[in-house]
Amino acid sequence: MCIYITLNYLFLTVCLCVHVFFFFSVPTVPQQVSLSPNLETQQLTLSWLGGESTTFDIMILRTELNETTVSVTADKISGQHQWNWTSVEPLECTSLSVQIRSRDGQTTSDWSDTHILPGMDLPSNKDSQMFPQDRVVSVGTNTTFCCIVEEGLGFGSIRYRDLVMNVTRLSRRSYAMTQINQGPSGVTGTNVFCSSDEKTLLNGAVVFVGYPPLPSDLVCETHDLVSAVCQWNRGRDTHLYGKKRKTYYTLNGRDCTEANQNQKWSACSLAQWDGNFTLVARNLLGQYSLTDSSELSLRVRPVAPANLTSVVRAWNATLLWQWKHRGYDSLALICQVELTSHWHTTTRTFSGVGLRSVIVLDLRPDEDYSIKVRCGVQQNFWNWGDWSGPLAFRTSIDIPDAPDVWMWIERDNTGRLMWKVSIIIYYYYSIVVIIIIVLFVSRNRQRLNWFDLKKKKKKYKRLFKSKLTAYMDGGFPLSWQSDANASCGYVVEWHDASCQQDCAVEWIKVAAENTNISAQSENFQPGVRYTLSLYSCSSEVPQLLQRWEGYMEELVPSSSVPHLSSNQQDSNIKLSWGEIPLVSRRGFLLGYHIYLNNGSQLMLLANVSDPTSRSYTVKGLPVGSYKFTVKAYTSAGEDTGATVSISLESYSRFLFNLVIVKCYNILFSIVARVKKAFYPDIPEPKLAGDWSRTQGPLDVKPSPHSMVHIVEEPEWDSSKEALVVIPEEDEDEDETGDEPVDTDEPTSLRYYNQVIDDRPIRPRFPDSSASSASSLDSARTDVTYTGIQTSGNSLGGYRPQMQPGSLSQDMGLPAPQAFSEPQPTKGASFGGYQPQCSWHLDSPVEAEESGGLAPSLGSPTSVASTQFLLPDSGSKEQPEGKGQGSSSATTWFHNLLSSAKP
């Protein structure tokens, strides 16, 4: 069915009707016309009975002003014809009249009776009104408003917000205006005001212009491992507020009343996790759906840790919290701890099953911190949970541990105190104050001195043989037998074995339960021999337990054997050489290769595998000239070699030359003795203490009971952990030319008249009774006493060499008791030895103990000796000059014979 449409004013429609009278059959006039208005949609539904006609003309007129016709297409339903018409203006604005006629081609019926839809502008409704009211429309649409002026008042204007609009008059009292392309309204809508000509507000309407909902990002997760919490982004602002216009949400069909209207994100919960979630957002302008689906285990987001507490210490703090849900007990968690101090924030990460406490390390003492925690699941990590509330605390004040102290005794008996301070302390404190407390023990309480230590060292030297250790894995692996006396553990110390002075000493303390370590240092150098010593730590002096030597990496010797010489012995050639200095060996010597130079080539004659060998005899060579090369070798290879030449003579000629040389030597010796006896040299002035710097070592047999006191004695406080190491210089010297294998036999201890300082050697003042005149000139005699030890038994009648004109004698004082009486603890072991120093006088205590001897020497007098006093021939002390003066002819002859011995 098709309805023909006309669109004109009334008179035009009438004209059209005139034309239809040319048809032969006249359609029936539509009957039972009815009007059904929908005021909200401004839609008018027409229905009628139209007979056989399929085409109708419909005329809708504004009753009063007859202005409007419309063109439509209508359908036939259930025998009734019905047609919907939507008005631009609200249907209430004014009355509408409707007429319908049937059409068959060009033939039309008469118009039906006029049916009127009454408007609100009827005279019976006197009040002012406005339409539509509370309309909700989409942004961009056009809306027509009409104002019906109160009966008796004049129309003024219609304002959209505060904008005066152009109006169209619909009826006597009704005026309309259209707002096109409306923008979104405010929270309470957009007001349209209708006012009278006297600018009195007559009425008005509110229109809400907004959008349908458009949410996004629906995500569901669980906090308690049971229920679901779904979140979504509300999307753009709908501009529709109030309980009738706001957006309503349903999640899986359940109303989400808790969805917050004022936040960008909304959330809704379901009591049980359902793998599939559907969110429907709905408002008056439309609806929108979102879906999400997941397994529960993939969407676990822990809640914020609750009841945060802390146990605070100086450098760390234990952080504890609780979980609201029991399911967390077996949940593998990863947690972030955010630490803020002085506006600086750091984050630490921890993990664990059911994690509810962590220890936060590396804090600073006495600092304010603010801390908070959040967690996620380790497996199938989904998202971090919420942060806990902040917890503020202040760390405790720290009392630093005692520094790691070690002591090294130099060759001049000066002690070098070394310590390590934790790098943390340096890092956190700009100023580190270390108070060094050196305690000395009373001589009566404990006799402990460097000489005791030396003796012990020698003892250790006999007891322990240095072992070789191979560097591996970045260190020297050391292991040892547990020592019962090591109550406070062990100390492993190492240094360059060839170092003589100011050695770089390193050490490490080892707990008592450990019996092996790897000595590691960044300072290890290839080709340098290191001596590593193990000491036990106890309340007593550290005991040397073990010693190792090793190279980080062995190299070839840096120098060849020194003093290579060749001598003919009979018909053989004996090659002799000196010892390569330790510093030049750069590895453990394994032996020597003896080469015969044959032109430009070296022919290996022998491999001397004993590294202690110093000679080799080449036999069976014919007379002639030879050139030999000796090369020492280590595991890394051999050195460049030293070369010596020799001309091998016949054996008879060799014997003749030898006899001639011997006779010449004997004759020269006799002449020299005769000259010395009868024409002696005028002696030069003799100064006490005129000792040669190059004086050789004095070897003495040590006595197990001997003891010599030096200037001060360190007090050993068993309550302190500071360790004292035994002086090493003698041992170093002993071993300088040796392989690292100590001899087992009791050692003859060597004592050197070693001058420590480089200043000119002044006459020493070794003894108050045998002081030199020069020493008297100085009120403070600065003398250093080094390396002295005596053995009464072994030395027999050895006495310190006495200087002529002792001070005590010159001053008329009695001879110091110390000279005539040995030390109480030494007894007879000292024999004839008398210590040179009068250190008793430096100490008031000692002065008292010694019966106030020689107080006139005064203090400060630091007395030591760099000389060893040679025993005279007799048991009495005799001035040196006197001894020389008493030489007799018999004596010189005896000496002559002695010196003539080969």
Binding site: D162, V187, T188, F193, K199, G204, Y241, G242
Partner: protein, 202 residues
């Protein structure tokens, strides 16, 4: 119509301090009402050149020169009580129907006016109690358009009229409270003192 109880007319004068304080609160409330009205007009784009016809929402006996102090106080107190009921209903309805949950100057001022009105009511109630020694009456809200309209534009007009009504009654309160005998005497005293001071300065 507000209920009016039969009371004994003792003619006791209200406390000077309370009356003065109530008058000061009324002045403050009046100022705050004016500001609230201004904010409302601005929010709703109600042009200043448009006149909104008044409509009385509060019903009390008409003013009369025959009323004594207690009746004036009672009339004022009753009107203010109705205003408070209307105001609270307006706030609720506005938030429900129009979605005024957002926090802005208007909402803040609205709360200020409500609180100040309660304070003023406490003071007028105290004055009333001091006057006749009886308990403060509870106004009957019968006949009061307490539910308000349903059409939103009319709701807005209704709210505006409530504010206007409050403005009117706070103005009335100022007049009434300042016209109380004790306050008048006090003010007279103050005025005299000021004049004396000024005379002395001259």
């Amino acid at each position: 119509m507000a209920d009016r109880r039969t009371r004994g007319m003792t003619g006791t004068e209200p406390s000077r301090t309370t009356a003065a304080r109530a008058a000061a609160i009324a002045e403050q409330l009046h100022h705050e009402c004016a500001l609230l009205l201004e904010l409302f007009r601005k929010k709703e784009s109600l042009s200043p050149d448009l006149t909104v016809a008044d409509g009385r929402l509060v019903t009390v006996p008409p003013p009369s020169s025959q009323l004594d102090t207690r009746d004036k106080l009672w009339r004022l107190h009753s009107a203010l009580l109705q205003c408070r009921s209307l105001l609270e209903r307006a706030i609720t309805k506005e938030e429900e129907e129009l979605g005024g949950a957002e926090k802005g100057d208007y909402q803040s001022q609205r709360k200020t006016v409500r609180d100040r009105l309660s304070l003023l009511l406490a003071n007028t109630g105290e004055l009333l109690k001091a006057t006749d020694g009886t308990a403060v009456l509870t106004p009957s809200l019968e006949g009061l358009e307490i539910d308000g309209p349903t059409i939103l534009f009319e709701v807005k007009l209704w709210i505006y009229r409530i504010f206007k009504e409050l403005d009117y009654w706070t103005k009335t309160a100022i007049t009434t409270l300042q016209g109380l005998p004790s306050v008048t005497a006090k003010e007279r005293g103050r005025t005299t003192a000021v004049r004396r001071r000024r005379s002395t300065r001259r």
